[in-house]
Amino acid sequence: MVQKFSSVGKRLPRPDAASKVMGAAQYGADVSLPGMLIGRILRSPYPHAKIVKIDTSKAKKLAGVEAIITFEDVPKLPFTRSVMAEGFPAVAYEGENLDQYILSDKARYMGDWIAAVAAVDNYVAEEALDLIEVEYQPLPAVFDPEEAMKPGAPLVHEGYENNIAGKIEHPFSCGDVEKAFKESDYVVEFSGQNSRQKQAHLELDVAVAQWDTQGRVTIWSPCQNPHLAKKALARRVFDIGEGAVRWITPTVGGGFGARMSFGVEPVCAMLAKVTGKPVKVVVTREEDFAGWNSRTEQRQTIKIGVKKEGTIHAIKQKILSDSGAYLSHSGSITAVNMQSALGLFRSPNISGEAKIVYTNNPTSSGMRGYGNPEGAFILQQAIDMAAEKVGMDPVAFRLKNIKGVGEPSMWIPVALDSCNLEQCIKLAAEKIGWKKKWGGWGKKKEGRMRSGIGMSIMTHASGAGGFLLEHSHAIIKLNEDGTAHLTVSPCEMGQGILGALSQIAAEATGLRYEDIHVITGDTDITLFDIGSHASRSTYVIGNAVVNAGQKVRQMILERAAKKLKVFADKLDMREGRVYVQGAPEKGLGVAEISHDAIYDYGTTGQHIMAVGSFQSVSHCPNFQAGFAEIEVDTETGIIKVIKYILAHDIGRAINPQNVEGQLQGGTAQGLGYALYEDLVIDKITGNTLSDSFATYKIPSSLDIPEIEVILVEEPASSGPFGAKGVGEPGMVNVAPSIANALYDAIGVRINSLPITPEKVLSALKSKK
């Protein structure tokens, strides 16, 4: 049966677009309160140092300075920057290490937070920072995770022997891998590492905090997980009740995983507490680059055993992650690397281990894809190497080894009930002209400019059902005029979730899309939700909205039934109008029903509203295939991407325009990750050298190749109207497919990101 939808599947304008094009949207930096002070942070000039003495007396005398705080002034309660840690089940996961305080008594990376100032304006605050006198005792530092594990290496944190912050056994361990390698006809091994890609959201980190006379604090800050952040701030940072924290999320200028960690909120709340005034803490772009958030650098080895008929027999994966100075998300993203990379392929024998190590580098965290793009860059090249050994086409080799419906999924495995990866691979391969363009293994190419084609596949979750805290709640309240308020708590960080949830609400209730008004971004008003991460919001929150919508619809139909004098099950509702099935002319508008329900002067007054809930048990994985066609200049080493085609298994696109936007934007970030973006940290001083958009290159409008997005729409039974997640996947396949295309073009493999012209030239040289 072909379902005809009124709102779902349509390219409707998102509700936040108008305010954004008019410059009216209010972001964190635009929040201004009467008497508000500006807060700034003093950062360590040493990567590792003991703080012997801090003298704040001169700074305190500066006119306009209201407070200066140091380690002495903050609660001695350790916490982790990762607010996601609150979402892990205590039994299954020990959580990220509680390894830091609001301000530190020891600098652990160049830029670590030592003191903070609140002053009347930014100019005075900056001047005050210069007047704080700190006596540091520099300590030996370590910047390489291998070095950090050696006996005698400087200890970043007491109590973590050999700087090992955590260890993970492979979650998919099975069979006997060593025996299986012996049984294999071919064994390939590939080692390499990803770069510390920076989220580089355009909106700088910011927070405003204000305490009231009852001891409650309100925070305004861009945050992907406001309810978890509320809990972490209350319980971990200040040891107060969750009810004493109100978290307001203004318009968010980009997330990409960075807003899953505390930024400046704890120090901002502390300054506001000490001064008794509202405080806004701002940071510079330089501080942001040399700070507390980047993709985690992972050194990885993948070993694959294959049978000569082309089946994978064994996979072994080893990872060494550099968490930097504090653990933050580095542990869990390492686990996700293992799960997502190996969630794709069937293998009877799997083993692996990971270590996460502290160093004196800036703190790593999670970024879009959260372990997946890190793993895919190595694994998808190793898969191509295995295909070459067997002498199979990379498309055919993948098709032979991927999992399908009924087989275990990526995370805590559940049986896949929706998987269209095969279709994605075939569609994208055909569209790019794989058969014609891929000339077979070892084909010699001549000339200065050489073209190549390569592919990669991926799976990613739609939330972490079965693994993390995954229940969500939505409220739909009908207004007198037939419009409705939808109260939900995702984080609209640009992905278009408010539009998607409004479209789902309109469809589920039978109201018009333009009559749905979203209420969000305030933990005092919204019900619990873990927030926007793991490409979950459309799937998980969307299901809660469907549940609320169906209840509201039923309530409307029941009231309408009385008015129309027919049974409710004989009624239908569409576009804000209730009508009798088979007799659409007999009906009435929803405004009449909602108004009369509230203004019922008899005995059956009612405010039509409902709370919908959803407990996710399946993470409903989505799938994607990506193909890159490139041209390599063998004299300069410059790679030009001619075309990138991806096919994504979306289940159903609630708003195809926004789904395309997610995939195009993800592709651009993937392109930067593949070719230019590199957070360069000096290996002797620990200084972050690429600390501006001039020294850290993100793609500009000139760098964008032709991108083609194919949406594969086979509704997933557990998704809202069949939808699955799409937020992160766009960037996963880009780097590995370019790397595989490079091998096709010039016969060399690059094992570290970004794939710079220097690396290409040096690889070409050593090949000769």
Partner: protein
């Protein structure tokens, strides 16, 4: 003159245009994102030309016509570029959008029917981390076509 209105304010000579617009005039649509002239989020038009307000001392533009994102709509009717950005799904987080729209306006005034490559070049000073630029370029192209059919930029 800001957005067609004459303002008389006393400022310190060190104040940047972006700070004066945002903090003294409440025009927070102009965004601050790098402070080094690399990202274009703070772009405003001065006598029709795009400039970076984070690198401009406010005193240097005192007798000039400054146009910010708040000033480009015609009353309640959005500027064709604003409308095109909405219709083409070119807006995600929105932080780069005010600067992007103003750069696009300056581009179309100089080159009313640009090719895709010319649009890419015209917007190269405005970084966007969300969209991958595809729909932004679509939007500018659509606005140019609307204008070509008698609309106005």
């Amino acid at each position: 003159m800001v957005n067609g209105k004459l303002y008389e304010i006393i400022i310190e000579p060190r104040m940047l245009l972006v700070d004066v617009l945002r903090e003294r005039m409440g025009l927070t649509g102009t965004k601050y994102a790098c402070g080094t002239g690399d990202c274009g989020a703070c772009t405003v038009l001065v006598d029709g030309k795009p400039i970076l307000s984070c690198l401009t001392l406010a005193v240097t533009v005192r007798d000039k016509n400054i146009l910010t994102i708040e000033g480009i709509a015609d009353g309640n009717t959005l500027h064709p570029l604003q409308q095109a950005f909405i219709d083409n799904g070119a807006v995600q987080c929105g932080f780069c959008i005010p600067g992007m729209v103003l750069s696009a306006k300056a581009l179309l005034e100089e080159n009313p029917l640009p090719t895709r490559n010319e649009i890419q070049a015209g917007l190269a000073g405005n970084l966007c981390r969300c969209t991958g630029y595809v729909k932004v370029i679509d939007a500018v192209q659509a606005a140019a076509e609307t204008a070509g059919k008698g609309g106005k930029i």
